[in-house]
């Protein structure tokens, strides 16, 4: 499906979604509360079939966080990017690791690096960082570690 | 003619002239003990350097080449290193069993040296049940491995030991059946009788097809019994780091290492004795002239030549095959080798009764 067709289809599924121009892929902004049901539709819809989550990450915009999901379909080879704004304080979003199982490890990484709480995640704990790092999230812009970080 | 047995007889006579009978026995035992221990050390050195050179040859590299001429003293240097190293005992280990295990391993392989005929009329103990003795004592070695694995208080060691236990106990059966087929053919358990029965040709030639099968089964079984690749599950280093000797260091580790190589030598010596005629030169039926020429080569050379040929075969296996999985290993034994061995034993028995062999 082309980006235009995708736009029409996705507007049908989620009228509140807004589209963003620029970048390589079609960017879709959604509310974080709509995410789980929308993700299920994206995965199960026969004409969309977004079955492959190839990149899951988060961006710290200082005022808020944005979850970024890159999805593709191994059947139709179309790509979309889903973005969802989160609060800076106590960010939380539903987990999608039931739909795309690769999300389990990726969400754990985002949890420790950005402090995003993934609701209903089966095993949300530190993956990369050592014990005792809870609460200090290295990839946030205000993180500071005077000993280990070298300012260039 | 010069031979080892002549020297032994000469020593015996000289002692008999100068000392009373009781002292002669004591002196001869001391000499035998020293010989076994020095043979042990020399075998260890030779086999380790041989393994490293064989593996290097198969892996297109040079192998050890710095210590001594062509690196031949490398294993001596390694021994010194291992002797000087601290032999640690982990805190959680059962200290008595932990320290006992390597000595048990080495004692078992020393005991196995007794009934082996190294040359014509030269063996430590001419036992009338030599073959039975060997199969009985060799199964004790599994106890030392289990002991080491259990006493180390390490899960890798324990798993390695358990694997090894399952493996040695299973493969003993096949090795036993393969040995039995030769016992059936010769009608004797005595090593010397078995060798003398091959004066008109080795069993591998005389016994044709069924003995070939026995020989192949025997080779597979001894490779498994000595825990060497492709059956080195007890110490599978990519799975269990080092298996049952994970916690051992220094000389205690070296003893396990030494025991492994000496065991390889012993099982190959037994294989050579049973199937390839031991020290018996290459004889063909009643070709007296040919047989006589062959007799000029000393019997000890024949023995060591055959043994080292088998050792080379086993090293060849190790450096070419990947490792089996534990269930495949047991399947191979219980579903294939054991039934084949049993049917083969039946064939050999029929052959022995009907005199189909040469």
């Amino acid at each position: 499906m082309t980006n235009e067709e995708l736009k029409i289809k996705i507007t049908e599924l989620l009228p509140s979604a807004t589209f963003e121009e620029g970048g390589d892929f079609l960017n879709i902004n959604i509310e974080s509360k709509d995410w789980l049901s929308f993700a299920m539709q994206l995965n199960s819809d026969n004409t969309l079939a977004f079955d492959y989550l190839f990149c899951l990450t988060c961006v710290d915009w200082k005022t808020h966080l944005t979850m970024v999901y890159h999805l593709t379909s191994t059947k139709f080879r179309h790509n979309i990017v889903i973005k969802s704004k989160l609060e800076k304080v106590n960010p939380a979003i539903e987990t999608v690791c039931k739909i795309w199982r690769t999300a389990e490890l990726h969400e754990r990484e985002v949890y420790e690096m950005f402090g995003v709480n993934f609701l209903n995640h089966p095993d949300l704990r530190l993956l990369i960082l050592p014990d005792g790092w809870e609460g200090r999230n290295p990839l946030l812009k205000d993180f500071d570690d005077p000993i280990n970080m070298i300012k260039l | 003619m010069w031979s080892i047995s002549n020297i032994a007889n000469w020593v015996n006579e000289w002692l008999g002239k100068n000392f009373s009978a009781a002292w002669v026995t004591v002196f001869e035992m001391v000499i035998a003990g020293i010989l076994v221990i020095s043979l042990f050390a020399v075998l260890g050195l030779i086999l380790v350097i041989m393994e490293r050179k064989v593996s290097a040859w198969m892996q297109i590299r040079l192998g050890p080449n710095r210590v001594g001429p062509k690196g031949l003293l490398q294993s001596a240097a390694d021994t010194v290193k291992l002797l000087v190293k601290e032999a640690m005992t982990p805190n959680g280990a059962d200290k008595f069993l932990f320290n006992l295990a390597p000595y048990l391993a080495i004692v078992v392989s020393m005991l196995l040296m007794a009934p082996i005929a190294f040359a014509k009329d030269f063996m430590l103990w001419d036992l009338n049940i030599g073959v039975l003795y060997v199969s009985a004592i060799s199964s004790v070695s599994v106890i030392s491995i289990l002991m080491a694995g259990w006493a180390s208080n390490n899960k890798y060691s324990l798993m390695g030991a358990m694997r090894s236990g399952a493996q040695i106990v299973s493969y003993e059966l096949s090795a036993g059946l393969a040995i039995l087929s030769i016992v059936v053919l010769t009608g004797s358990l005595n090593m010397n009788d078995i060798i003398r029965s091959q004066a008109d040709g080795w069993w591998i030639f005389k016994g044709h097809f069924p003995v070939w099968i026995s020989f192949i089964i025997f080779l597979i079984a001894i490779t498994a019994e000595t825990n060497r690749a492709p059956f080195d599950l007890a110490e599978a280093e990519s799975e269990l780091t080092a298996g049952f000797h994970t916690e051992y260091s220094g000389m205690k580790f070296a003893l396990f290492f030494l025991a492994e190589y000496v065991n390889v030598f012993i099982v190959c010596a037994i294989g050579a004795t049973l199937f390839l005629g031991g020290w018996m030169p290459f004889h063909i039926g009643h070709w007296e002239g040919f047989n006589h020429i062959m007799d000029f080569i000393p019997s000890s050379l024949w023995f060591f030549g055959k043994t080292f040929f088998l050792i080379f075969l086993i090293m060849w296996f190790r450096w070419t095959f990947p490792r089996l999985r534990i269930d495949q290993l047991l399947n191979l034994e219980w579903k294939y080798l054991l039934p084949i061995g049993m049917i083969n034993l039946l064939l050999v028995t029929a052959m022995a009764i009907l005199k189909w062999h040469f």
């Binding site: 300012k151 260039l152 | 890798y156 599978a236 799975e239």
Partner: protein
Amino acid sequence: MVEEIGTTADGDLIINVGPQHPATHGVLHLVITLNGETIKKVEPHLGYIHRSIEKMCESLSYRQFIYVTSRMDYLSSHINNHGCALLVEKAMQIEVPARAQAIRVLLDELTRIASHELWWGAMAMDLGAFTPFFHAFREREMINEIMEDTCGARLTMNYILPGGVLEDIHPDFVKKTKEFIALFKRKVDEYFELLTGNIIFQNRMKGVGILSAEDAISFGCSGPTLRGSGISCDVRKHYPYEIYSQLQFEEVLETGCDSLARYLVRLREMKQSIHIIEQLIDNIPEGDFQAKTKAVLKLPKGEFYQRVETARGEFGIYVVSEGGTTPYRIKFRSPGFSNLSALDHMARGSKIGDLVAMMGTLDLVIPDIDR
């Protein structure tokens, strides 16, 4: 951590494989729950070589951050560099000279062969066969020498810059590469003879580590791991970059879904890489090896994503730019991280010896996972 030693309440054994273990090829730490020899659960603990490269890149310029990526998947460092350079070129619309493109692709494929050779040797060693390792390294050494001549380095090449390559190729490059191809074509067949046909090897690989197509997609696997499950996913085919769209090559697919399929995919991929090199080696266009670029690179405001096919799978770079000289946020989508997530699913119910085979066929490079 206390819960990682001893046994569970059900009497199952818990074993720590790694961070120092002969089979993990690096500092991967797997906590395995075992019932006898049967695996009940595999839980990866990462971070032993985590350097926070993503954070580091936020303070590096668009020329500098390329070199950090060499340190991630050190076996396909050239391809990682390539991806980063492509992203900057795409964002700034830099036209790369044809000569540079051909050189980049040539070195990409050489890197892929070198990486697969190391994998082949290391995997055979995991299975207990030591000899293949040395046979593979003999040929890998030739590639390393070619790389050394041209790039000045053997492992972390750092040869690519935005707009081209650092230097022109070495005068001996074409000759040496041709010699290598001629030899390597015979050697690939030797690899098949030495290991693939071995009955023990076949038994160890067949039906082990089953990863069905649906699971492989769901776990986000890529590269040979996904192609071993029969899913076409080659970035070079589906999202062609550089001159791959003009080259003749076949995407290798196997439908076995097991370790053997993944093994065969990689071996056959080496042959395809040779095929690509053969097409290019006599046709390297003349001209500049570098486009003229500004001294200071500034990416326009926006978000960019570039993917390349490394030896391990799809490597993605996601850059958020605020228009400055450094990236605002950078995310590396490493193939190893996603492939690793499938390990637990694959390993459950199999023997501990199979885990080693599975790890071997996933071809994990730990710095690539930890970043």
